[in-house]
Amino acid sequence: MFAFEFMRHAFAATGIVAILSGLVGYFMVLRGESFAGHALSHVGFAGATGALLVGMPPFWGLMGATVLAGVAMGLGGRGTTQGRDVTIGLVLSCMLGCGLLFLHFLTTSATRATALLFGNVLGVDRSMLGWLLVLGVGCVLAMAALSRPLLFASLQPETAEARGVKLRMVSTIFLAIVAVVTAECVQITGVLLVFALMVGPAATAQRLTATPGWGIVLSVLLAIGAGWGGLALSWWTDCPASFWISALSTGFYLAAGVWRFTGRRESIDAA
């Protein structure tokens, strides 16, 4: 399957996005902000279709909308987005509605909408791959600088605030990074399935290990496993890659639950 350039591009793009999603997703799950990331992708849908409407590349419309929304979410919050699921849910559905409206004016073929909603990893070209890589490296560097105060602020916000961590600033920078990664992830899984790469592997990792270091390593590996595994399965079965990625991601999560359940039973027996 690597004989085809579009497959090589698809594997490279999925690899880049999986590394980012595993890394950033770990903190999203730790902070209880996975739903916020989901909402960002829906805002991105309105941005992408809006960009198409005015004749701009949809990727940049998507990116602009998610970053704006992420920063707004961070500045509007009190350093955490927990407990705001109603607001986030309403914004989410409103943005999806706006996206639908823009599509209606576009009167383009339905494939464009499907590609945005469910991803089109086989359509990633060389220039898109370049952008994914450049933005990805930027996100990893930003996370390297932010990870320490972010971990502190996520686990012990009261203490972190007392020690001089600016909770709102940390939260805003983090949500901006989440926004960029979400926009990248939409290229692979589409707007509706970003959970599969950004949340599934990270949540699985947190079921399996109790240290952040190993958690992030595991989260990245699982995301790569789901991404590349999904691509390979889609090649062999001729089913959409996004379906397989989401199926694998959910499968990992359930398997980790079973593993932990049996593991705990053993430890009780041993006690």
Binding site: S154, T159, G164, V165, T211
Partner: protein
């Protein structure tokens, strides 16, 4: 860290900056949260090395006062200083144990939880991911605080599997990072049974004596602190009274602070505060 008046030179525990500088000094302090007045023109000084129990009716503003000493909540008027310096966030002389939050505990082990707090305010990678000398140095500091609270055996267990008392031990260890000289403990006894509460109080007292630091300990129930605390700070209706238990925990003083007739009953070495017919121990 700056600010230590370089007396205590080489060796031995660092000498207090100056014996004249109390851990907490408040002068004409007015503290307001929204339109609620927590303190109005209050002056008091916590003596060096003291174990101060902070009491007061629900909503009297015990947590707000602690947050004001941390510099998180600004005072409306007056001045609070900590070891002679004005309050401000990021004061390494203070160790802080926040009220245990309602949010669910993360699935992380105790050691990672404490490691996240070690210089967590700096940019960069978390301290236990850095290579070499720094990492060993940080690991020693984490071992030191775990050992102080007797929580070495909890370090590798996920926090969500620990009991309330075990979590408080870890939070106390976290508060001791960086060798603070003042501990601010916000309701560490909340949701602990009386036996565990006594254990936590005894542990805090042992650490206080061992390190020669001052402790401000807020609580609902003064009985677990009897015989251990050497001062009580009562906060209520904008006023505050600091003194010995015998000076402060009396009918007239508490009646003024609660704003209603209060009776204090002593029986079998315990103290019961009866306000408006309802017993509060």
């Amino acid at each position: 860290m700056s600010g230590h008046d370089g007396h205590g030179c080489c060796g031995g525990p660092p000498a207090p900056a100056s014996p004249a500088m109390p851990p907490v000094d408040m002068a004409h302090v007015t503290l307001r949260i929204g339109d609620r007045i927590i303190l109005s023109d209050v002056g008091l000084a916590v003596p060096a090395g003291a174990f101060v129990g902070m009491l007061g009716p629900n909503g009297a503003g015990k947590s707000s006062l602690i947050r004001a000493i941390l510099g998180v909540v600004p005072v409306a008027a007056g001045r609070i200083s900590v070891f002679g310096r004005p309050v401000g966030r990021g004061n390494h002389d203070i160790g802080y144990l926040p009220q245990f939050p309602a949010r669910s505990a993360p699935r992380l082990d105790g050691r990672s939880f404490i490691a996240a707090a070690l210089h967590g305010e700096r940019w960069g990678l978390p301290c236990d991911w850095r290579p070499g000398r720094h990492r060993r140095h940080d690991a020693m500091e984490i071992d030191r605080v775990l050992d102080l609270v007797g929580a070495m055996h909890l370090a590798r267990r996920p926090i969500d599997h620990l009991s309330g008392g075990e979590r408080q031990r870890l939070l106390l260890a976290q508060a001791l990072l960086g060798r603070p000289r003042l501990l601010l403990l916000d309701e560490p006894l909340a949701s602990l049974d009386p036996h565990r509460a006594r254990e936590v109080v005894a542990l805090v007292d042992t650490i206080r004596r061992q390190l020669g630091i001052a402790v401000l300990f807020s609580t609902h129930d003064l009985n677990p602190l009897l015989g251990v605390m050497d001062r009580v700070l009562y906060v209520g209706r904008g006023a505050a009274r600091l003194g010995t238990v015998d000076e402060v925990v009396t009918g007239p003083v508490l009646s003024a602070l609660y704003g209603m007739p209060v009776e204090v009953i002593r029986a079998n070495g315990r103290i019961f505060v009866v306000a408006d017919g309802a017993v509060q121990s």
